[in-house]
């Protein structure tokens, strides 16, 4: 082998910038570099580019008006702003908030902060199928529920929540509804009007846009207290000189995603099914982290539990062969607990340590999947053979 193969299977973590996105951004670094808030020609050009991007982004998510889009510094900032900004304006003295147990930390951490500030927070569990069920949320809703935040697509197990139904049920009790759309934007239909949400968060680098830019949809009239304060940019909703190239790139990236969303999601779902089925077939003691039907899964994320191995070791061995994947193992994050997502769906910690997330994207080919299927089994077998407890724990159970 001359050049080692390099296969990227971690599109859910980040994506390369698409060449066409890069081309769209380029003029705004060195030529049309103006501050969008300046009145002279260079500033007006930047302003026009910014507002054009806002319009296209708004259109891409089905927003009624461009002013409903606030550009931010990243998906995390958008999530933080949604939770803290909406509660601070709607119910500054406290109240009840619901978030799901398997939200991204960008939602969970501000939820913890809200608790410190005197709000009550319900952490709503998914069922074993990896889905947040409307009936469960309805039970958790209270008269003083201010805000519900439930993610659209889960970044680890790839399940899709019934946002439309959840949002409607929340509204029925007078609560506002936010969804974290970082993983689903552009990959499956995401239309704020259709979903009926009041707020939604997005991140540029998940869809072949640049890092360092995010977006927050706030439906007109949604109460919101800005979280980054200063010069009053973004209609006072987010201060700081706007990252014009990043924002232009983000809008372009979204348009590209939408261009072939239907075909691409079918293509990826087929690859996901092939990969998942083959792994389970070829490797004993291996299963999907949830058995929910494919209709409720994101097309691009395969979430596997490889029992009796530790995720980081598997990841590093795959990396030796040029394959980039991710794991919910605690050891990969330096924490003691494995992925809170897997624990939330009832996966025991000793199994969660061996989780493998294979996430695919624009440049994934069937050959990549084949190569993965070729190299994974020997790696797993070798690691299992090095384990002092594999036979004891799993040896008899699955044969």
């Amino acid at each position: 082998m001359d050049t080692p193969r390099r296969i990227y299977f971690d599109y859910a973590a980040t994506t390369p910038v698409d060449q066409r996105v890069m081309d769209a951004m380029m003029p705004y670094f060195m030529e049309d570099y103006g501050n969008a808030n300046s009145l002279y020609a260079l500033g007006r050009d930047a302003y026009r580019a910014l507002e054009d991007a806002r319009e296209r982004f708004a259109k891409g998510i089905g927003a009624t008006h461009p002013s409903e889009i606030t550009f931010t510094g990243c998906g995390t900032e958008s999530d933080n702003a949604a939770l803290l900004g909406i509660t601070a304006r709607k119910s500054p003295k406290g109240g009840h908030v619901i978030v799901s147990k398997f939200e991204h930390h960008a939602v969970l951490e501000p939820a913890h902060l809200l608790e410190k500030r005197g709000y009550e927070v319900t952490y709503l569990g998914p069922r074993e199928d990896g889905i947040i069920h409307v009936e469960d949320m309805v039970v958790a809703l209270r008269d003083d529920t201010v805000l519900v935040s439930i993610m659209h697509g889960n970044n680890e197990i790839g399940t899709i929540q019934p946002i439309k139904e959840l949002a409607a049920a929340a509204h029925e009790r007078g609560a506002l509804f936010h969804t974290d759309g970082a993983q689903t934007l552009g990959k499956i239909p995401f239309d704020v009007a259709e979903l009926g949400v009041d707020a939604a968060s997005f991140s540029g680098h998940k869809i072949y846009g640049p890092k360092g830019v995010g977006a927050l949809y706030l439906k007109r009239g949604t109460p919101f207290e800005p979280q980054i304060l200063g010069g009053g940019q973004e209609s006072k909703k987010r201060s700081g000189t706007q990252n014009v190239p990043g924002i232009v790139g983000f809008a372009k990236a979204l348009e590209l995603m939408l261009e072939d969303q239907a075909e691409e999601s079918l293509r990826l779902a087929a690859l996901r099914e092939k990969l998942t089925n083959a792994v389970i077939e070829r490797l004993e003691n291996t299963e999907q982290s949830t058995t929910v039907d494919p209709a409720h899964r994101m097309p691009n994320i395969a979430s596997l539990l490889i029992k009796g191995v530790e995720g980081e070791a598997m990841l590093l061995q795959l990396d030796n062969l040029g394959i980039a994947v991710s794991t919910g193992s605690a050891c990969s994050s330096g924490s003691l607990e494995p992925s809170h997502v897997l624990l939330s769906i009832g996966c025991p910690p000793e199994i969660a340590h061996g989780s493998l997330r294979v996430s695919m994207g624009r440049f994934t080919t069937e050959a990549d999947v084949d190569y993965f299927l070729e190299v994974l089994p020997p790696i797993v077998e070798r690691l299992r053979s090095m384990s002092p407890v594999y036979d004891r724990m799993f040896g008899s159970s699955a044969r």
Binding site: G308, V309, E310, G311, E312, A313, L316, N320, S329, A330, C331, S332, S333, G334, L336, P338, P348, P349, E350, H353, L383, M386, S387, P388, V389, Y390, R392, M393, F394, G395, S396, S397
Partner: protein, 152 residues
């Protein structure tokens, strides 16, 4: 977080993997719930470690520290072996990322438990002191006694 080249070398090419069948001392530490578990088997002659093998379920650092500790301990007196510190293990590997320092405890603990296992079996006083041995509740398929290293 970056592993040193030496960590990666020991992770990719772990030394002394396996189980000594008629081991004189056996140590098993860690806990699959926490993600790592290590077993050390020793062949001991004249209070010296003649042979040493390990098995480890765990992350890159857990495997590498297991591997290096077997190299460090081989040929050592029991007294010297139990005196190996996690800091020495980490240094021998050209350092460990801060979040992984706990892994080096696994390796030294495994060694200590194995040495004491040998001593206790031979009616002698343990010398390594208290270490957390393997959690007896981790194995749903085994009898309670199966994984009590004192009797394995």
């Amino acid at each position: 977080m970056l592993y040193s080249d030496k960590v990666m070398d020991h992770f990719n090419h772990p030394r002394n993997v396996g189980v000594i069948d008629d081991a004189d001392g056996i140590g098993e530490v860690g806990n699959p719930v926490c993600g790592d578990i290590m077993k050390i088997t020793l062949k001991i002659d004249d209070d010296k470690i003649e042979d040493i093998k390990f098995q480890t379920l765990g992350c890159g650092a857990a495997i590498a520290t297991s591997s290096i500790v077997t190299e460090m301990a081989r040929g050592m007196s029991l007294k010297d072996a139990v005196a190996i510190t996690k800091k020495q293990v980490a240094e021998e590997l050209d350092g460990l990322p801060p979040a992984k320092m706990h892994c080096s405890v696994l390796a030294t603990d495994g060694l200590k438990v194995a040495v004491d296992d040998y001593l206790v079996k031979h009616g002698r006083e343990p010398i390594a002191g208290e270490v957390k041995s393997a959690d007896p509740n981790f194995d749903p398929h085994a009898d309670e006694d199966d994984h009590d290293h004192d009797e394995a």
